[in-house]
Amino acid sequence: MPAVQLTDVHKHYGALEVIKGVSLSIERGTVVALIGRSGSGKTTLLRCINGLEAISAGSIDVEGQKVGQKEAELRAIRQIVGIVFQSFNLFPHLTVARNITLALTLVKKLPLAEANDVARRVLTQVGLIEKFDAYPEQLSGGQQQRVAIARSLAMMPKVLLLDEVTSALDPELKEEVLKVVEDLAAQGMTMICVTHEMGFARRVSDEIVFMHQGKVHERGTPEKVFSAPDTPELKQFIASTMI
């Protein structure tokens, strides 16, 4: 069973169709990078996988579980699918530790002491254990993003979605986040990353999926995609990112 199975997924907003029939099968332990121009539907597709966007037709299954639209189905899916956002979206009124333990205590019903142990473990994993009691605003962007990743990891997701996780960061802060993502990849985490950064895609992914006009236009290993793209659209896209 693949970790994530998308079958003929369509998504439209009114008359505007942004995803026009995407089928994709993602095996456990692989890292897939979704690339493509703005408006190609890659972020929308990612957000459909944890139900932040409802699909219009088709189906999505994660670990054999259907991504439905009912509240209970959505909550079940979100317990096995983590997401990290471009703009971190930490809760500014809570400490780093509480950002991580909130869902552990509310959703997983762990006692606070146990949740704090989990928080310490995931913060150590992203190298920020010393920020346990800090507030998000006291952290740099890179640190905030690592906390956001730790917050997702604490829920023990089976699949992690990364939505342009380094785009909002200064170049010198991107590296620390990239490093954390690479570590996760090495540990066998199944990840789907939307990214505009080809360096990132090349470094962490096992497979590149190029989205164009709401469809999967071409896919392949990073070596293949970057050195010998088949379609003129991908060729052109890659050339445009080199500028």
Binding site: N50, L52, E71, L74, R75, R78, Q79, G82, I83, F85, S87, N89, L90, F91, P92, H93, L102, A103, L106, V107, Y135, E137, R151, S152, M155
Partner: protein
């Protein structure tokens, strides 16, 4: 007619306590009802948003004095005799609930959409998202305008004088009627309102500066 004495003026602080009591009822009652209306106004259920919007529109779009008259005179003709205190308490509670609801709706809507999404993505229920993520942040934004509106409530309670409820303004009228010394009496009444309201205005301005960005310094 008799001359104004110090004893007359000394009845004013006692009457001011009724002003405070009525304000407190309007604040607590209006706060509770307003909180529910604000949640209804930001609900995902379209019909509930419409009902709450209509509630707010009706109460904000009609004069408070008329609402007060309806609760007191209107209901008494219909056979329900409410005391001035009860009628005033109901009228002020409902009226301020509409204003609180609007202030708090704005504060809830000021919390960026991604905060909801982040909370939902962690598996929190809608109610948990509201309780643990949205409201704690919205409260900071709402604090200054809420305290500011309390000043409005206090001044508005003077309208209760018109249905015969004896609070600060009404007591001033009563003294004026027997002494015919409106200037010193109403100056004192005004001064007492000011003494009550001014600290709240200062507090509101202080809170506004402190939480200006919506995020507190810790």
């Amino acid at each position: 007619m008799r001359d104004l004495s110090v004893n007359d003026l000394l009845t004013l602080p006692g009457a001011a306590l009724w002003t405070l009591a009525l304000s407190l009822m309007a604040f607590v009652g209006g706060g509770l009802v307003g909180g529910l209306i604000a949640l209804g106004r930001t609900s995902r259920a379209g019909w509930l948003r419409t009902v709450c919007a209509a509630y707010i529109q009706v109460l904000q779009g009609t004069p408070l004095l008329i609402q007060l008259f309806i609760w007191y005179f209107g209901l008494s003709v219909a056979g329900m005799n409410l005391s001035p205190l009860v009628a005033a308490a109901i009228a002020f509670t409902l009226n301020s609930s509409a204003f609180f609801a609007e202030i708090w709706r704005g504060s809830i809507e000021a919390i960026p959409r991604p905060q909801w999404e982040a909370a939902a993505s962690l598996g929190l229920t809608r109610l948990q998202q509201i309780n643990y993520v949205i409201v704690p942040q919205a409260v900071r934004i709402a604090l200054a305008p809420t305290v500011g509106f309390m000043v409005q409530i206090i001044k508005n309670t003077s309208l209760a004088a018109l249905i015969g409820f004896i609070e600060l303004a009404r007591q001033g009228q009563i003294i004026t009627n027997v002494t015919f010394a409106p200037m010193p009496v109403y100056m004192t009444v005004g001064a007492i309102y000011f003494v009550i309201c001014f600290p709240l205005s200062i507090l509101s301005r202080h809170l506004e500066r402190r939480f200006h960005a919506g995020r507190a310094a810790h």
